[in-house]
Symmetry: C2
Subunit: 212 residues, 2 copies
């Protein structure tokens, strides 16, 4: 039996833990996006949240290229990003109204030395972006699978910037809108995570007693 978007959203919630942020528990990464535009105000808000992330030496190495489908001048970036997605991602990403490319300056501005923390910092900024999107009723899916050379060439990214991620942003869609049955199955599968015992140690490999 086909599940509705609302039923899927309920299914994807993490089990509630008292005191844990609802945006953390509610955030998940869909592949079905609704045919609904994201307001300019909400775009401002998700980037505002990203901007306040911490970074090594407050370098703020991140830069974002904003692609919006069918809306000039943002449609050029959207099309170039979409064309560079690897096949599997193209099967679903065409429904997302917004695609954002995140890149990082590979060198510290103040001394020109390599910044080995830039992609780590971008990961933090995009987490802010994704949680803020959740707070606004939006949803995101982050993609690593795209042709870096093609994106760099077509969007004129300078050599000292490293490509990080493409993020699809929009409103959650009906799972039935996905045409590929494998994607539908993933869309309606519960989220899975390793337990805290597998992740938090009191010495290497030894689960920390967190009193849970």
């Amino acid at each position: 039996m086909a599940l509705s978007a609302d039923e899927v959203h309920s299914l994807k919630q993490a089990p509630p833990v008292e005191g844990v942020l609802s945006v953390v528990l509610n955030r998940w990464s869909p592949r079905s996006f609704a045919d609904r535009v994201v307001s300019r105000e909400d775009l401002g808000r998700v980037f505002e949240a990203a901007r306040w992330a911490p970074s090594s030496q407050n370098e703020q190495p991140w830069r974002f290229l904003l692609g919006i489908r069918d809306i000039p001048p943002f449609d050029t970036i959207y099309t170039k990003l979409f064309e560079a997605l690897l096949g599997f991602n193209q099967e679903w990403a065409a429904a997302a109204p917004v695609l954002v490319l995140g890149v990082v300056d590979s060198q510290f501005a103040h001394n020109g030395k390599d910044n080995p923390h830039a992609l780590y910092d971008l990961g933090g900024a995009m987490a802010h972006f994704a949680l803020q999107a959740t707070a606004l009723g939006l949803t995101t899916r982050q993609l690593a699978g795209f042709n870096h050379d093609l994106v760099r060439e077509n969007l004129h990214i300078p050599a000292n910037y490293a490509l990080g991620v493409v993020v699809a942003l929009g409103y959650q869609g009906e799972p039935s809108a996905l045409e590929n049955e494998k994607l539908v199955a993933r869309e309606v599968a519960p989220r899975e995570r390793k337990s805290l015992q597998e992740l938090v140690f009191s010495s290497w490999g030894e689960p920390a007693d967190l009193g849970a």
Copy 2:
């Protein structure tokens, strides 16, 4: 005139933007920590938030070593991490009751190939951790400046795990508790970030019109 911890906390807030998450605006990275323990329940909550971060292929490459000052068995990790901090960080980190090391598996578990996204993903997990800490009235400062070789050896980190970050966790302290005047000056300085015009583009280097 010396500022109190409360005055500093107010000074560090990002300017409010309607609809932007308060934990994003309120989070900042102190160097002064209060002499107050973090409850086991709250430790569980910050790791719970980290655990639900997204990752490439849901690899969840992150592992955490939990160091708690003076509390066996966690005091060993605390001491080893503290000893490996580079001098500047040792000047303030001794006041933090908790030090956490974040590491990542450098290879995908399902095929043994290099995972180039692992540190990016750790950055997202630590952003969840830091925002969750903010929601609980706790505060964090992430450190990149530590002796990796020493940490790897002393904490027996396997070769296939890359070291990412040390995070200091606790309650904000009085700025006057910092002994180094330069650290006090930084503790009471307003936070600065690049503007959205400098960060979000409609083509490379061209500020996106976000209607703000």
